[in-house]
């Protein structure tokens, strides 16, 4: 029983509560860095590292942090880890640093991380929070890799730089540009909606009651409430 619940925390983030496709969090980095598989993977791994570390630290500090100032505390913890990841990437993967550019420091405002800190890590123990971070991170990375694969395959005819489709047809570079990003995201999300409609898991837990901002939210007009719910 114990093991099963631990496993379900881990697998929650993959499909059922996929942060990007079901919870609709972290849309900016998803769209911006899924231009190719490598970029998407790099972004996913960086965000996952921050997510796991910040989840652990916030779970450790959850009883010390006063409730009124928890958001600034969370942001400080997250910003610290983002800076670490930023410096590590800059030192060991300068090419990735160049292609992610502005979006690397912007992990700090990635709503997935703050959302999980608020929704999960501030209420659960260390191990559960770490597992939640791993699961969510894998879900995020997986989505980015899938979107990156689609965009790179159609847009440039390659996968991870290896030419595949480019021998048969020329790449449609629009897919690696901005409109292609929105289009592929829409397609993937509609597909997930399509395969999960009868299981009816997708619409649960996307109301205001599960929202990270619900305490700050005055009447729900400031969020995507009712969008999917």
């Amino acid at each position: 029983m114990e093991n099963k619940s631990k496993l379900s925390i881990l697998t929650n983030g993959l499909i059922k509560e996929n942060p990007v496709l079901v919870l609709v969090l972290g849309t900016c980095p998803t769209l911006a860095t899924s231009t190719s598989v490598i970029n998407g993977f790099g972004m996913g791994v960086s965000a996952t590292a921050v997510l796991i570390c910040s989840n652990i630290v916030i779970a450790l500090l959850r009883k010390i942090i006063p409730d009124n100032v928890r958001i600034p505390c969370f942001i400080t913890v997250i910003a610290g880890f983002v800076t670490i990841v930023q410096l590590v990437v800059k030192a060991f993967a300068p090419a990735l640093d160049k292609s992610l550019g502005l979006y690397l420091p912007l992990i700090v405002v990635n709503c997935i991380i703050l959302g999980r800190a608020e929704m999960f890590a501030s209420k659960n123990g260390i191990i559960d929070s770490a597992l939640d971070g791993i699961g969510m991170g894998i879900g995020f990375t997986l989505t980015l890799v899938v979107m990156g694969s689609l965009r790179e395959l159609i847009g440039a005819g390659t996968w991870c730089g290896v030419p595949i489709l480019s021998r048969i047809m020329p790449g449609m570079s629009i897919m690696t540009l901005v409109p292609g990003g929105f289009f592929v995201y829409a397609l993937v999300m509609a597909f997930v909606h399509y395969i999960t409609t009868d299981k009816s898991t997708i619409r649960e837990g996307f109301g205001c009651s599960d929202c990270a901002m619900q305490d700050d939210c005055v009447d729900g007009s400031g969020c995507a409430k009712g969008e999917v719910a």
Binding site: I71, F183, E227
Partner: protein, 193 residues
């Protein structure tokens, strides 16, 4: 003067934040349901962007760079923005009740809006001077407002009144709308070289 006009026009049309640079997508998708809240959010973001730039630019150039602690940029900027938003909210609540009623709802959401942190960092990265940074932030805000109003207009007319497959309802159809809007904004791409 022409330089500043070019900065603003290029930020509004060519480098529009939500439609060409993927910044500020969350409010762009979430708050664009009706025109009033879209306008309110757009104005609030513009306001915070200009103020945040006005504060973070001197911090970077006079403090962080001078003492060689530029690596603290992310931490310092996000804390400054969070504190600033809180301060604006408190100030508005006390002194500008009318404005607070129309914009106050959006202020807590702005802290985690990547467009605000994005404009502060990109001002530093592109080496703008103080005045150029302020104009850049203002242009980015106006561009965001422009995209929000366009999106709200399209959504109220098209998205909410048309029939579509069930799996496309909600966010996917909005993303598709955004794709078409982004496509048309690409037409501005060659305006400045």
């Amino acid at each position: 003067m022409a330089k500043y006009v070019i900065i603003i026009i290029s930020m509004v049309l060519v480098n529009n934040y939500p439609l060409a640079q993927f910044l500020g997508i969350c409010p762009f998708l979430g708050v664009s349901k009706d025109k009033e809240s879209a306008t309110g959010m757009g104005i609030a973001v513009t306001f915070v962007m200009v103020l945040a730039t006005a504060v973070t630019w001197p911090i970077q150039n006079l403090l962080l760079d001078r003492f060689g602690i530029g690596y603290l940029q992310t931490v310092v900027f996000i804390l400054v923005i969070a504190a600033l938003v809180q301060l604006i909210e408190m100030f508005m609540k006390k002194n500008m009740v009318g404005l607070y009623k129309s914009l106050g709802v959006f202020l807590p959401l702005i802290t985690t809006n990547c467009a605000v942190l994005g404009v502060c960092i990109s001002n530093i990265d592109s080496g703008y001077n103080y005045l150029q940074s302020l104009f850049n932030a203002f242009g980015a805000g106006i561009g965001f407002l422009f995209a929000m109003i366009l999106m709200a207009g399209v959504r109220s007319k098209l998205v909410d009144q048309s029939r579509m497959p069930k799996s496309w309802q909600g966010v996917p159809i909005v993303l598709l709308t955004a794709a078409i809007m982004a496509l048309s904004f690409m037409g501005f791409g060659g305006m400045f070289s």
